[in-house]
């Protein structure tokens, strides 16, 4: 049965092909069945394979479908590699993917491009599965770029609005910068180690490269560049908030649960390389920390419901990077999984809110919606509790694991831990700021319609709610991959520290309550000073990074392009043409048409030749 692993990306791929080739002529019910059904089938197969794999107890399973190319010593294959890590990833992708597809069947029902939506979504899932199941870095890169393409297509899904197209292109080009860095890393790895098969490459690296060697540093830095782009971490995080221009289900699938976790997966997969370059690994942790704090600040100032969740995603992935940086790979992957649960839940619930309130995105124009939108309210409540790491929720367990691992690391571990705790404080604030503003208080929106939550939408929400609460009890089978103990390993940390970690999110929730529920503290007073206003503006704009990139990269490129539109080199050849014309005019002057002139020139020429003949 394990041999059928190739079916996993094939079902969505077939779904994509059938939807593209029929080009929107199928009725919507069939489209939904094909679109969601293909992912459902993949999930089924994935579950069976997972069960069998775990029962077998093997460490890994390899299946080559065909040799992709073979040039010299470079011969990557279309080969699937199954181990604990890819197992977790594939289940998350197909499982959450299926739920989101199911939700979209109801959510996108009124959209005229229903078929196009599902075709892109299916292509995305196929690419993402290729990414996590690839046994060599080139095949991984195929999946990597494929998800980037689908992300572009889906962000710009409503193409009539050029702003969506702009956001889509921004996402694609920004991640392309990271992809190029990764590609250069691949070239380096192949040139030095002779193979891009992941396991062979890692063994060769361990054998040939000393810890801290320049090559290891270079290779891991380049791969980190790719990871940072795809996972929207510093310095390539600017595309994710704008990506919210796409339909909400894709924000849930691509920009919360799966694509943005690709970077985390990459680093986890090649962790041996990072361990050979400890400075780079530490850098991963620092990037994670700075990003999670920056995004946390910004999330607290946003008022678009999806942008809050977007910045929250950036922040949570920062936690995952933090975990990877301190060597807590299992914890990071565990957090990846739980984050997929509750972030997908939050985004899908946000979709329900937006749809029910007729495409209202601004939370300050909602309010008191908990009676009107019960399912969304329940989802948001549970999701935010998990996000804020309320004790007992899945998010609590996973975030705790990471912070504990950070604490136990020597050196900067304490600083990382403190930063993570501050981040948790912020998480509590912004997540419940959203809940309190949208669902409590006075109702500002004028639409009092019923909640839009048919079975196809409510079902996944309920399932995700259950997973968000109880998902923390799942043990992910990644021991052998990471040579570390179980996810829930024993930690030797004082009760005091534990206490802080539990209390801080609650403190955040409490602060948020004081500002937004009970109105005991006043936002207006806090924002009164001009310094507060400028800080707010600064954080709101994502720490000014968009503007920075505009000035540093975009404007110079546009300027250069515009200035040289006609191509300098062409001007040079035009110059040659002009010179030829001038020479022509000059020579044409000798054709006077006068007989005597011609006779003179004949005579003169004759004299010259004769005298030359005589002299030489």
């Amino acid at each position: 049965m394990l041999d059928l692993i190739w079916l996993l990306p094939t079902f969505p791929l077939l779904g994509f092909l059938s939807l593209v080739l029929t080009g929107g002529s199928l009725p919507k019910k069939i489209v939904a069945v094909i679109g969601a059904g293909s992912i459902g089938l993949s999930f089924l197969v994935a579950a069976i394979i997972a069960a069998q794999f775990l029962a077998n107890g093997e460490a890994h399973f390899i299946k080559e479908v065909w040799v992709w190319m073979s040039v010299g010593s470079f011969s990557p294959g279309f080969t699937f590699y199954l181990d604990g890590l890819s197992l977790v990833m594939m289940l998350v992708i197909t499982g959450i993917g299926f739920l989101i597809h199911l939700y979209s069947a109801g959510f996108m029902l009124d959209d005229p491009s229903y078929s196009r939506f599902f075709s892109y979504m299916n292509l995305f899932v196929a690419s993402m599965l290729m990414l996590v199941l690839a046994d060599n870095l080139v095949l991984l890169y195929l999946g990597w770029e494929g998800v980037g393409l689908c992300s572009y297509l889906l962000i710009g899904f409503w193409y009539e609005n050029p702003a969506n197209g702009y956001a889509a292109r921004k996402a694609f080009v920004t991640t392309r910068v990271g992809d190029t860095s990764m590609a250069i890393g691949l070239f380096l790895l192949f040139a030095q180690l002779g193979t891009l098969n992941i396991q062979d490459m890692l063994h060769a690296a361990e054998a040939q490269w000393a810890i801290g060697s320049g090559l290891a540093v270079a290779a891991s830095l380049l791969l980190l560049g790719g990871a940072v782009g795809k996972s929207a971490q510093l310095p390539l995080q600017t595309w994710l908030p704008d990506a919210m221009a796409g339909p909400t289900p894709i924000s849930a699938l691509i920009h919360a649960a799966t694509m943005v976790t690709a970077g985390v997966y990459l680093i986890a997969r090649t962790h041996v390389l990072f361990e050979l370059a400890p400075n780079v690994q530490l850098l991963v942790a620092w990037i994670g920390l700075v990003t999670l704090l920056m995004a946390g600040f910004t999330a607290m100032t946003q008022h678009d419901i999806k942008r809050i969740l977007a910045y929250s995603t950036v922040s949570q992935i920062g936690y995952m990077f933090l975990g990877l940086g301190v060597g807590a790979y299992s914890a990071s992957i565990f957090h990846l999984m739980t984050h997929a649960f509750f972030k997908a839940l939050l985004f899908l619930a946000a979709g329900t809110v937006i749809l029910s309130l007729h495409h209202e995105h601004d939370i300050f124009r909602m309010g008191g919606k908990r009676k009107q939108l019960p399912v969304a309210f329940a989802s948001f409540l549970i999701g935010s509790l998990a996000l804020a790491a309320f004790p007992g929720t899945s998010g609590f367990f996973s975030k705790d694991e990471i912070l504990l691992a950070a604490l136990e690391m020597e050196g900067p571990g304490l600083i990382l831990w403190i930063g993570g705790v501050i981040g948790a404080f912020f998480t509590g604030i912004y997540s419940f700021r959203l809940v309190f503003v949208v669902f409590f208080g006075e109702s500002k929106a004028h639409h009092e319609d019923k909640e839009v939550a048919g079975f196809s939408m409510a079902g996944p929400l309920i399932l995700l709610m259950i997973l968000s609460v109880f998902g923390g009890l799942i043990t992910i089978p990644v021991q052998e991959v990471f040579n570390h103990g179980d996810v829930h390993e024993e930690h030797h940390v004082s009760a005091f520290m534990h206490g802080i970690m539990i209390a801080v999110p609650l403190l955040g929730i409490g602060v948020s309550y004081l500002f937004y529920m009970s109105r005991a503290l006043s936002i207006e007073n806090l924002m009164a000073s001009s310094m507060a206003k400028s800080l707010h503006k600064f954080w709101f704009s994502g720490w000014g990074m968009d503007r920075l990139y505009q000035i540093l990269f975009v404007n110079p490129f546009l300027f250069l392009a515009r200035v040289n539109r006609a191509d300098l080199v062409d001007r040079f050849y035009e110059l040659l043409v002009q010179l030829t014309r001038i020479a022509h005019k000059m020579v044409a002057q000798t054709q006077t048409g006068q007989l005597r002139w011609y006779a003179l020139s004949i005579a003169a020429g004759l004299i010259v030749i004769v005298s030359l003949g005589v002299l030489l």
């Binding site: 044409a588 054709q591 006077t592 048409g593 006068q594 007989l595 005597r596 006779a599 003179l600 005579a603």
Partner: protein
């Protein structure tokens, strides 16, 4: 009779030739150009005669006969062309013939 040194003859022929050439190049009247051409032809004929007498061969005299014939034919055609030119342009100024300019 005392033989004239060949150098004198050739120098005379050279001078005559140059005079003829200058005439061709500088005179504006076509008839005079034609006359200068005749001088050039005769100069070359003179050179032939002188050479023939020096070496004692008859070929030079024969060449001169040929040149004479050539000159006569050429003059006939040339005068015919001049008459045509006068009929068309009402002048014998050679500068008028410059349609091949450029």
């Amino acid at each position: 009779m005392q033989s004239i040194p060949i150098e004198h003859g050739l120098i005379l022929a050279g001078i005559l030739f140059s005079l003829g050439l200058i005439g061709v190049l500088t005179r504006r009247n076509v008839v005079f150009v034609l006359m200068s051409l005749e001088i050039m032809l005769n100069a070359s004929g003179l050179a032939f005669i002188v050479a023939a007498s020096r070496w004692g061969h008859a070929e030079g005299q024969i060449m001169f006969l040929m040149i004479l014939t050539l000159a006569a034919a050429e003059v006939a055609v040339g005068l015919g062309l001049i008459i045509q030119m006068y009929r068309r342009f009402n002048t014998v100024d050679i500068n008028v013939l410059s349609k091949m300019k450029g």
